[in-house]
Symmetry: C2
Subunit: 342 residues, 2 copies
DNA sequence: CTGAAAGCGCTTACAG
DNA sequence: CTGAAAGCGCTTACAG
């Protein structure tokens, strides 16, 4: 009930609470003697500072907010954990928020701003930028001096951006199917329409003079089950492709399972590739061909971007960091070249 | 810079800030007219309430803290996402914290208490309870009226507990190996020593008159890579078992890959089972035999436990909720019974 | 080296 | 139905 406050420590130690406050934050002009005394009584009383009060006056909360989608995707969780480690290492805590619907994003941003987070990481804003309430909420956050970094494709937004070139990943994997394996009937199995990944696929197909429009299919959701169930139906209606590029590893895993259930072998009958390079993709049988960036790298870059803003102002121009990705050719596309070492 | 506060709204709308505060929180004794006026100016000015100030005076922060280990394990992320949804649905936000070392836990608890979380979920405290600083930090949190639920095996702790019977899962899987498949040389591949999972394995082995001590091996870490690399070495040193029960699905996935690399077939040469029943386990080739509880169920129960405490006091006695698990016999143990439906 | 005072942005009795 | 005042627990100029 009765929380221990600096007033209690002041009373116990016979000092003013001003001095207590200073001693606890290791102010240089407090005598060592006093510091020792005060710290001792603080721990004796089981004192822990009220971050609400501290945050109110200091206008800093030592909190980084993360707003992202697909929080249950293992890829996301690898990133979150890496991020959390970096955030902790810098003395912050991570406040995690998610959203399903694009309209939700702006209210999530306002929530975070109200909680006075010092920094804010926003995942994938493609498709959100046109929502009417998005910009005002972002502007409000910026005006409040919150360090913001978005995590998206290159963007003209006036906030720092960590760019991951999914377009190039999709393009490169599609080109690999075409050039290395000579496939021409290559499907793309996406989730949302017109993603940047999809664009890479289309570009590669067009460059090779292949039709992509009729080979582009959309799943209603991006979990494994959905992909598994959908692929059988698709094969029945559309015939058999030579290869399938999937929106991400999770989808690819679902597809591979669905193909096996339909009696097709991967890669002998149909080749498959994913995007993300989640750890698990190399453990599959067959091992999954995919492309991605180590989450550790992403987390590190985000934190670096954030720290550059934190404390400093939002006045300096926004920077865009492009992270190089790597492509992993494994068994599922028909390659067996063991180039899988880190 | 200049944040919009209720003072600004008061000035703009010609009302006192007291009235603004009341109107914004929909106080019954404010006229509808005034409320409409004030809300309009609030949104016009882009106001969002400062939760620090609010939290300071109300002593509630609408935040639930989560402290857990193994945050990058996909199983954990499924749970976190489910939890996050429930937490949001009840009007709270989720503050996520992790710890590697058991000694860290108490300082994480203090952090959370300092942040004035309304509720706190603590993952697996087995092996932590004997740490000297653990109890004081937990007591402090309780005294501060934070609703606490631990997520562990049955415990005598004076906080609510969500119990998951890993011992029974391990026991049941081991018994399955013994009775259904007639295996006698069954290994257990664990991570920490003397976990409750391990205990289930030992019990089943002893009950069948089988030696377990020499068949129990510990991995230095619980990621897939470690398991994959370790299993080869182990086979070379110890010969070939008939079956391996793994600490969790992630370990089992690593093991299956390692076995394949060594030229062994699963389940023909060696049977494998995991624990957790992560979604992905049914997508593997071979599909993984495992046991677990749907994360959605776990999250739901946690939230229920938490909400019963939230607002109410910590005076009523601690309750322990036991969640029933399910066992899934799939291909990796040699069964093919498709009992995998939910 | 230490203290008294103001103030962070809100809510909530207490008056009217 | 509305307002003036106190206070949540801290930090930080301003004085000494």
């Amino acid at each position: 009930m009765a929380r221990v406050t600096i007033i209690d420590i002041a009373r116990e130690s016979g000092k003013s609470y001003t001095t207590v406050s200073r001693a606890l934050s290791d102010h240089p002009r407090i005598s060592l003697e006093t510091k020792v005394l005060i710290r001792a009584t603080a721990t004796r009383l089981g004192y822990s500072p009220n971050m609400m009060a501290k945050g109110l006056v200091q206008r800093r909360t030592q909190t980084i907010g993360l707003i992202a989608t697909e929080l249950s995707n293992p890829v996301r969780s690898e990133l979150i954990e890496a991020l959390r480690r970096h955030v902790h290492a810098s003395g912050y805590q991570l406040l995690v928020s998610g959203y399903q619907d694009e309209d939700e994003l702006s209210s999530r941003i306002r929530d975070m701003a109200g909680r006075q987070v010092d920094g804010l990481i926003i995942g994938k804003i493609t498709g959100v930028v046109e929502k009417k309430d998005f910009w005002p909420s972002l502007e409000a956050a910026l005006k409040q001096d919150i360090a913001v970094v978005v995590f998206s494709k290159a963007t003209s937004v006036r906030v720092d951006c960590l760019c991951i070139d999914y377009t190039a990943m999709a393009r490169q994997l599609t080109e690999h199917f075409i050039r290395k394996h000579g496939f021409r009937n290559i499907w793309y199995l996406g989730v949302d329409r017109n993603t940047i990944r999809q664009r890479g696929y289309v570009a590669a197909m067009q460059a090779a003079g292949l039709d992509s429009a009729k080979r582009l299919f959309l799943l209603p959701a991006q979990d494994m089950q959905t992909a598994r169930n959908a692929i059988g139906e698709l094969l029945r209606q559309e015939g058999k492709p030579q290869a399938i590029l999937c929106h991400n590893d999770i989808t690819a895993i679902g597809v591979m399972h669905g193909l096996r259930q339909c009696g097709y072998r991967v890669p002998e009958d149909i080749a498959v590739a994913g995007i993300d390079n989640h750890q698990i993709s190399s453990f599959f049988n067959p091992a999954l061909t995919t492309a991605g960036i180590a989450p550790e790298r992403v987390a590190e870059s985000m934190m670096k971007l954030l720290e550059a803003r934190l404390g400093h102002s939002n006045q300096s121009p926004a920077v865009a960091v492009h992270l190089p990705f790597k492509t992993y050719f494994r068994e599922s596309c028909g390659c067996c070249c063991p180039n899988d070492e880190e």
